[in-house]
């Protein structure tokens, strides 16, 4: 029998993104599109939220895809198949709202591409006409391309440097797309990625009154509504990202507050990161 939380497979996607298949039978069975897990990578570790990017209940596995940005994401990225992740709790958060809306545009940016995959799949299963748009700095960042393409009716890529697909941001692509397809009635937009990208997409869709759902990534601790670290403002009301979200109506989200709150520990994160890299280098040079 497989041990719980054991990493079954690892793939390296581009220079800064790693994808793990982890044996987590209970979560694999329970998880729905849009939900996340909270992970601790070591005994002294912090609790970080990561989206369940894919799952297979029959095999008891889930996929998590991690962008290496700070200490914990780097530490986790250094895990190898066979290793066991000490703590995985979930599935947390509200599942994505899935219905047959008609035509949906699903936009993923950067590591935010990963969590769009289960949403694309379930939206398609629910009978929607799915237009998927993924964007990254360059072609190496266009992760999960094949899987997303397979489950989409239309599929587009964007890169900042033009190395693949549309040259520019996904939000620029969306403006073009809407202009060029005036006949197409879009019923819903889902955008997941960096705060600036989600905000830009909402700015594009607002004048058209296109309902746009975004998945927020505030700093979390428990992920169960116990601490309030994940406070966000939506429609002028304070909500807890972990239990009231992570998905919200993007036109109502206070993105400025979200960005600001993501900066709370910037200094501390730098300290932790530098210390980690120092130790890491020492080990490598030994």
């Amino acid at each position: 029998m497989q041990a719980e939380n054991r990493i079954i497979d690892k793939s390296i996607l581009g220079s800064d993104t790693v994808s793990f298949t982890v044996y987590c039978p209970v979560i694999a069975k329970k998880a729905k599109a849009g939900q996340f897990v909270v992970i601790r990578a070591r005994n002294e570790g912090e609790r970080i939220p990561l989206t369940i990017a894919d799952r297979d209940p029959a095999k008891g596995i889930i996929n998590i895809t991690i962008l290496k940005i700070g200490k914990t994401s780097r530490l986790l990225s250094s895990f190898e198949p066979g290793d066991i992740i000490p703590d995985i709790a979930g599935p947390l958060g509200k599942p994505s709202e899935i219905e047959n809306f008609g035509t949906v545009v699903i936009i993923g940016g950067g590591v935010g591409i990963a969590p769009t995959l289960p949403i694309i799949k379930t939206m398609k299963e629910a009978g929607n006409y799915v237009i998927s748009v993924i964007g990254a700095r360059n072609c190496n960042g266009l992760i999960f391309k094949e899987a997303i393409k397979t489950h989409s009716d239309e599929f587009y890529t964007c890169t900042d440097d033009g190395s693949e697909g549309f040259k520019g941001f996904v939000s620029d692509f969306l403006i073009e797309y809407i202009k060029q397809h005036p006949d197409k009635k879009i019923d819903r937009v889902v955008a997941i990625g960096p705060v600036l990208m989600m905000k830009a997409v909402c700015d594009v869709t607002r004048p058209y009154g296109l309902k746009t759902i975004v998945s927020l990534n505030p700093i979390m601790v428990d992920g169960t509504g116990m601490c309030g670290s994940c406070r966000v403002e939506v429609g002028g009301k304070t909500m807890f990202g972990c239990v009231d979200g992570p998905e919200f109506d993007g036109h109502l989200v206070d993105f400025k507050l979200l960005s600001s709150r993501l900066d709370i520990y910037r200094e501390e994160e730098k300290t932790a990161y530098n210390k980690y890299m120092e130790n890491h280098k020492c080990k490598m040079s030994q």
Binding site: K30, E46, G225, G228, R261, A272
Partner: protein, 495 residues
Amino acid sequence: MQNEPVKNTRKKIPRNKIAEQNPSERVQNFGEVELGYSEEQAVLESMRCLMCKNPKCIEGCPVEIDIKGFIAYIKDRKFKEALEKIRDKNTMPGICGRVCPQENQCEKACILGIKDDPVAIGKLERFVADYENTCKKNTALHTDKKEYKSKAAFGYDLDNHDISTAEIKTGKIKTAVIGAGPAGLTCAGELAKMGYSVTLFEALHSAGGVLVYGIPEFRLPKSIVSGEVEYVKSLGVEIKLNCIIGKTFTIDELLENGYESIFIGTGAGLPYFLGIPGENLNGVYSANEYLTRVNLMKGYLFPQWDTPVKRAGIVSVIGGGNVALDSARTALRLGARKVYLIYRRTEVEMPGRIEEIKHAREEGVDMVFLTNPVEIKGENGWIKKLVCIRMELGEPDDSGRRRPIPVPNSEYEIDTEIAVIAIGQGPNPVLTQTSPDIALNKWGNIIADSSGKTSKKGVFAGGDIVTGAATVILAMGAGKNAAKAMDQYLKTRAW
């Protein structure tokens, strides 16, 4: 101290002071503030007890420990017997002796207290628990591991229990306990002792509830809590961490999976905020977040431990209970040079333990009474000032305490770099949202009768999730009562 006090001077022994780290030193560390009684002090303190015919102290203890009985053993230096006496009613004396609000419970009722200071019941209770622990540590060095284990964590001799490990057989009835706080741990331990198979589900990565994530190390060392958790495990309880009931499993799924009775002890884990402008500015914490980062996640050891917590020169804590006091004293230990505790009533109405109010004051917490924040002002996203209004006390409200009323046009500002909101916690709805057939009151607490019975067959609840934020000993009492009622239910199936 050398002379045995003679009977008629017994009352003259002054209450024995417990050794403490001195305030200027202790604010520099997270070590325990109180160092405990020595053997001599404990015995001397026990001599203060009048051995009343009608010992009121016992009525004052929510779990009715035979206080007079255990104190008599201390007097005879029979510390092991004293501990056993306590354990008849309370399995966590090391914790209760430290955190019970004795001044409202056992010591409030103590007859000696009418004319003199009451007997230091809590300190004696903690002494016997610690005494056992020290002995155990010493013997553990000399005995082999297996034997040490069978003695169980806290003085319990498993062999003396109604259910010895030999009797534990497969095919036992399965029960589930949700939440590993004092209520859940007690209930699980009791059920295991009765011979049930018990699985304890805990949302966090560590068991103990508020005892690990809320109450700081300097008041309750985490090694004591883990000792209790190990003891519960040694009784055969299986603890499943990282399981959020309502998410990972629902109550109905547990029932379908063969758990025949369930106890819910999920506590009061929903932080309340003031609802004033500026509360989402950077640097404004709920006490739950602040304390969790520091205690559970060991933020005070950052960067050796990975979870950061903000350190700042001026910290304002809003509230007047234990949670506020713990936050304020934590802020000092994180290096703040000025810590305000802002409370809308006066010291008399403060719900915190008297001892902790005293400790906080000694450590230099600046208590600002009759004051309430009305706005938080910021700059570039970070908190800068609290706008406060002065209050005066009016007529008593429902709680019997005089209601604070704002004094018009009395607003003033306090510079602050961090604010910690510690105005109370409510019931977390993650579990109850997925079990609509468990009836709740208007605040969202589970409705349960005195035995813990809820509106759903086979499901019991107790502790803070039922009563709202209360005390450790009440939560433990509720867990114990519920275990008895669950046993009854499982035997009769009557609801």
